[in-house]
């Protein structure tokens, strides 16, 4: 349940925050979000990853559709990747890794803090 919630909120966060902020601010925000929601370790990684990766993929698909621009293909050729399609995949994978690591970090941090608190409580 937390996994789904985290994935959804991550996606929304990327959609809105990324418009005004660079990717690294989004990463920090995802870390904080994961810390607040505290999904499982795997949930943090995949939730953040899917949230950011799918949104980035969706945005590239959307931009390509509404603009019909040849730029993705040109960039693909320029970077030696062939077509614009491979750049979409690359963007999605990059988004997934950045989002995933951020989510994971948030969970790890929360676990760390939580552990301390547990110690204090038990003590």
């Amino acid at each position: 349940m937390k996994f789904l919630l985290f994935t959804l909120l991550s996606a929304l966060l990327v959609v809105f925050l990324n418009i005004v902020s660079p990717y690294w601010v989004v990463m920090i925000a995802l870390t904080v979000l994961a810390g607040l929601i505290r999904p499982s370790v795997w949930g943090g990684f995949f939730g953040g990853g899917l949230g950011m990766g799918l949104v980035w993929l969706g945005q590239t698909v959307y931009i390509s559709a509404v603009t019909s621009s040849t730029l993705p293909d040109k960039m693909g050729a320029l970077m030696g990747l062939g077509s614009g399609l491979s750049l979409m995949v690359l963007t999605a994978v990059l988004g997934f890794i950045l989002g995933g690591c951020s989510g994971l970090l948030g969970v790890m941090f929360r676990n760390l803090v939580q552990k301390k608190r547990t110690d204090v409580y038990l003590g």
């Binding site: 660079p22 990717y23 590239t60 603009t67 730029l71 993705p72 693909g76 990059l94 970090l105 790890m108």
Partner: protein
Amino acid sequence: MKYISFLGTLLLTGALGVLVSLPFGQIPPIAPLLDPNHGFWQNSFSEDQLAEEALSLENLNAAVEVVYDEQLIPHIYAENELDLYRAQGYITAKHRLWQMEFQTRAASGRLSEIVGPMALELDRMTRRKGLAYGAEKGISYLTENDPATLALVEAYADGVNQYIAQLSDARLPVEYKILNYRPEAWSAYKSLLLLKYMSDMLVGDRDLEYSNLKKILGKVNLDRLYPEFPSENDPVIEKERVWDFTSLAPAKPDSLNYPEETLHLEPLVQPTEGTGSNNWAVSGKKTKNGNPILANDPHLSLNLPSLWYSMQLSTPQHTVKGATLPGALGVISGFNENIAWGVTNATKDTRDWYKITFQDASRKAYKYGKDWKPTEFRVEKIAVKGQEVFLDTVVYTHYGPVVYDQSFKSDRQDVNFALRWIVHQGTSNEQKTFIQLNKATNHEQYTEALKDYAAPAQNFVFASKSGDIAMRIQGKFPLKWKEQGKFFMDGADPRMEWQGYIPFEHNASTLNPERGFVSSANQHPVDSTYPYYVFDNSYEHYRNRRLNRELSRMEQITVEDMKGLQYDSYNLQAAESLPVMLNLLASYGESSKEAQKYLTDLKSWDFFADPAKKGQTLYSIWFAETSESIWRELMEQGAPVLRPNNYQTIALMSTFPEDAIFDVHMAEGIQTAQYHVRVGFDSLLVAMKNWESKEGDYGWADYKKTTIQHLVPNFKAFSVTEVYTGGGSGILNATGSRHGASWRMVVELGSTINAFGIYPGGQSGNPGSRFYDNFIPIWAKGDYVNFDLRKKVDQKGVLFKTTLK
């Protein structure tokens, strides 16, 4: 354990976040580039999808309205000139920022900052030529003498800078994202620098090659192979023109000594062959509607984003439209409600070299007459991406900078030459010329506007609604005695100095000549009766004659006729030389089936270089190979020299085919022109066999492969290759493989102006926009888009409108 996994994840995530923000060699930071909200994806939008109704531009006196037509050509309506140029700067930057910046960086020798050490030698050369030095002097000149123009240039700069300040990551041109740098502030200095850069693009000199040729061939043979006037001279200013002034031309001093050594310097980069232009105007008596018609097509390197950017600029006092240069104010080639004008390069040898004799190794003084004159040192600090700053000390003499010296491109330690060039003098005001031309309403104001214009010298064609047509060859031309500056000169001899400048009133010009048209195509400016010394190696011999023959022949001329003439692909050189070559070839090689096929193509060819014509391909290879064979021994002298031009080569082949010049010393027996034509034909067979097996079809367009290249040649995907179009060097449609008509304009000056224009590119500088290269197919076919003047209230064909306030 949890600490370890936390720290591990922290390190991993942190490292990842940093890693994707760093460049690796030539690979830009990957995350900012791919981020769909800020990276290159955002450059996929075309301008109409990002249209904004209002934008903020400070320091305006009144709101400025910008109306884009369906080709994304902005029409700017301002209440006064300061607002107009502020808006021009802002709007130009909005569509062409990266290009303006890149070109001025190139002009100031600062490419190494962006691309690294690979550009260092180029940057050193640019700086040693003194372009930036000239622009700095230009700014001081404006500050002291023309604050009104300076205020306009500064308003333009302010407009550019306000755009840069508002620029979001998303809207940053994609080239910045790939090359990983940011735009820096624009300035009035950069606008002047851009005009100096045009000089650099258009002006060449062959003093080095001529100095060597004089040594190798001797003066008599030099004059025979490289005559200063061709036998059939068809100059810019009609031959009938009478020069009704007293010449100030200086007499040639006696017993001059030239530096005698054969020089092994590397010559300066020259304007590429095929760089040139056409312009003409026909008077109402030759046109169908009785209105003057003016046409202009400057030929330059074909690049993307295009060098040109179309605009209409309006105030309540004037409305002007045409081609602008991003970075410079006003319209450069265009028309207003009363007049039209256009430019072609009017090259005259305005760059000269002086041998400098330094007093000692410190280079603090050099010999001049009986004295020693002090030098100045200018230290060029060249920032290099990924390396330390490179310091280059350039010695300046009163002639100009010593371009080649012990530290730069000379294998002779004792050879130092200073470059004398108009560009180094700050006393010109080209920007004012264009601002005044934009507003001129008649011939008098056009002439007045040209008074401030020094370089690069241009043939300014003119036509007015009131019925005048005119041509003026305008530049600041040094007064020279015969052959001064044709060869390297001795800087220690004061008699070698330029003797002043040809007065403005003595520059060649004509108004309403009897023949009913004026025209220029980079040929000799005048005939030999002009009382000043005129010399350049690069004068055209074919386009001009074709153009003048057609204009003389034509009557009842329409705009369509003039468009047709700009696209004319008749190869006069081939028409004059192919029969000679076929005659010399005689029955040679006819036994081979392949040779027969090519000869049939050649014999049935009508001399038009249309895209599908095979004869043009075969002729161009055959002639090039023949010329190569004729001049091979001359070119292999071990020092930089140049070949006699095609016109002279053909004249020798047809008039003196048995001349000793055709003899090959290395070969047995005596060779004549016939030998070279046959060698050339054999080479043609080899080249065609190779071509046909690799590429197949040899129609002209398939062979020449016209390419419109992005300003960064490595960005191949941003170039447009293999454009299917005809024409070539020496042909009115001068479109070769990398050069050609960079802008075509035809204007009929009737009661309402009827105008057409096109250039091989598009209004947008963004490779992702649908307006990036949309003009190219239209241009390739010889078609145009409508360029009529628009009123603010016109509603037809509006793409979108923006108010600047």
